[in-house]
Point group: C2
Chain length 437, copies 2
């Protein structure tokens, strides 16, 4: 006889999983390897940026007071008494109607308070000395980048847990981080189960399919910021699976299995959880695909029992495993960004449960447009190739028409959002199921 | 005396660079290492998906004709004559009013044409035999995933040059790609020049700043899909720089230098191009920041002379170097996606030249909103940390007000767009500079 499971709501399932979220350690990597990692601590400015008043252009530094009478009808002459390359300092005095040739990035001489660009003057030589003529009045501070105008010392520049972009690498270099504190990647074990599974390089056989879930999840773990460890695939034989799960669990921070969580006769994961002494947080969720997604916990370590169906497996990972990985990486915004989009095609099926439809996000004159891709069957692999969003159709809604507002989860997003935003931001009542005017 | 350079337009500069774009080679990597690479050839379906008719649920396979008389008032009995686990095949005949217990993913027996889920029947045992009662009429094909319904054999699944996502990894596994053909990463040399540059771990000194460009560009190269090779930083001494450029050039597919391209007295790159015999495609562009961005070419190999100012360097890379890298990776959509957004804050400065303002993209109820970050000075490093877009303000426009439509370039986009879209998609005439109603 078949076990009857009681489904819980998606947000309730997320909450149960997040109760066991924990942060990992911090390690140091060379700055060249920091791109794509997550900051293990906040970055503070240890000095002003720029550290000194400097010239943003190639030109001449002078005293603005000397230019007071300059105009298009009254060219004033300045003598060029020296030159400053970037990285050099000019320590001599600068007298009235004198100027110093200055290169981009070089420090402004103490006596000067403005810079005029090469292009704006007429240079000439007289009696072996360099001069230029100026026909424009300058104000104090003209063409000067002031010390601290970009950033004052002590400012928090980037928060802990932030995904490191090339722009953040520039900040790290500016503040002397030859080694960068980054969050240690959680080790995520992956085990595929199912007697129907062929390995990826096996020829097809009657009744069998190639194992795509393990490799897909492997890539999802990398995208989420974790370190995947693939322990292989096992057929639906209890003892083999049990020992594999038990041994693997000791080597990782979290363990993912794919398959074996249904109520089918060869679905051994429930029995494995029981024998391990793990407590099952839930084994049925009111969602499609992925209703059989199961999460268990032993000694604070989470076991993610993802479905054997590729799309269900994919969705289960992004909803429940990803935020656990991001929290481990110290990200506050551990969840995928959820935004509002206009549906780009009809979706006539009613939604008795929360539905996560694979879709493709495009932009039409500044508006987000979400179009379902491929068939909406939980075993469809190829539509996953096109999907960059999940379209969220809340349970209890009728079919949707093109032009209606829907919530979408951005799969390639690295910025993230918080638990609060993720679990409340749905376009989720039937009342709001309206066509965009 | 100062050289007067004639600026060319941004799109003209892009066109000149793209004339020298070329595709690279293809190599094979294990599927586990394919995430984030670019497909070196198109992926074709070498078999139907699913490869056979199969059950998407745990249940009983039967002949739909036998259920014709079933209703809530007329329960029909079926004898369960066998069981099929996923990966197994049931080869015996199935008679009238007989059924076979079938697990998710298992192949449908030849005689059957429908599946009923466990939850929808009432099982019982009589005289040691298994039966169930059914109160619902089934149609041929009910609850069957048909062979080829996901993908028919021969379909092009993913195009050459596509960025490999986890969903694409699933497709690769399904079609047996244990080794995946990926585009060889172009080797991009990086040389930083400038006497003002301290290495990242040196303490600050008067007049000097730390070298942030080299590490920033290093990360940008990785994000774009290339393999960066950092050759170090050199001061503004001609012979040293010349030999370093010449030697490095032989080891790479493209070479990036930062700094040394202005008309300043210590800017040696123009002289280095001349001594190398390289032809300069342009050395002045009508854009801010990055007007001094210079690109030269020798024997078909491109030398990108990016500005020494961090923001100018950043923008120059994304506009001119990135599409060259993506073309090398066989991407057709080699340019960053350019979309329309609503300006989230005033930008009062007029734009005599095309301006690329660092900004942050957010979403407000399905609309893209672009907000400038930090100061708009070309030497501002810290605002780069927040930027995920460049706001494009075309030359010849006045100041912009909050709420106006602007074009934005999405910096974290991996999908890309074509040359045609990138160079024509601007919200670019003064006429269209309007506030969103």
């Amino acid at each position: 006889m078949v076990e009857r499971r009681k489904p819980i709501k998606v947000n309730e399932a997320i909450t149960k999983v997040m109760n066991f979220a924990k942060s990992g350690m911090v390690e140091y990597v060379p700055i060249e390897e920091s791109y794509g990692r997550f900051l293990g601590e906040a970055i503070l400015a240890d000095h002003h940026v720029p550290p000194f008043d400097r010239s943003p252009y190639d030109g001449f530094a002078l005293k603005s007071a000397d230019t007071k009478m300059a105009s298009s009808k009254n060219a004033l002459s300045f003598e060029v008494i020296g030159e400053i390359g970037a990285g050099s300092v000019f320590n001599e005095p600068v007298g009235d109607n004198e100027a110093v040739r200055i290169m981009t990035g070089a420090q402004i001489p103490n006596d000067c308070d403005a810079v005029i660009m090469f292009e704006s003057v007429k240079e000439y030589v007289q009696d072996g000395k360099d001069y230029f003529q100026l026909k424009r009045k300058l104000q104090p501070g003209d063409n000067i980048s002031f010390a601290g105008e970009d950033t004052t010392k002590g400012t928090v520049l980037v928060f802990k847990g932030t995904y490191i972009t090339p722009g953040i690498v520039a900040v790290l270099a500016t503040f002397g981080y030859k080694k960068v504190p980054v969050s240690v990647k959680p080790k995520i074990g992956i085990i595929a189960t199912g007697s129907e599974l062929l390995d990826v390089d096996e020829p097809l056989k009657p009744g069998k399919i190639r194992n795509s879930n393990a490799y897909m999840v492997y890539a999802q773990v990398i995208r989420a910021g974790g370190e995947p460890i693939y322990f292989g695939q096992f057929n639906d034989e209890f003892e083999t699976c049990y020992h594999k799960v038990k041994d693997s669990l000791e080597k990782v921070d979290f363990l993912i299995t794919t398959g074996g969580v249904s109520v089918g006769d060869f679905d051994f994961l429930p029995a494995i959880y029981e024998k391990l002494g793990a407590s099952v947080l839930f084994n049925k969720i009111g969602m499609r695909p992925g209703s059989v997604t199961t999460v268990a916990e032993i000694d604070g370590k989470l076991l993610f029992g993802l479905s054997g169906n590729p799309s269900a497996c994919y969705v289960g990972f992004e909803l429940y495993t990803r935020p656990i990985i991001r929290t481990f990486l110290h990200a506050n915004a551990a969840f995928l960004k959820k935004e509002v989009a206009i549906l780009g095609a009809d979706f006539p099926k009613p939604n008795p449960f929360d539905r996560f439809v694979r879709g493709h996000l495009s932009y039409e004159t500044g508006r987000l447009v979400a179009t379902p891709v491929g068939l909406d069957k939980s075993n469809v692999v190829t539509s996953l190739a096109e999907a960059n969003i999940l379209i969220v159709l809340p349970g209890g809604t009728r079919g949707y028409e093109m032009g209606m507002e829907v919530s979408v989860i951005l799969l390639e997003d690295q910025e993230g959002t918080t638990f609060e935003n993720f679990t409340t931001a749905d376009v989720n009542s039937r009342r709001r199921q309206r066509t965009y005017e």
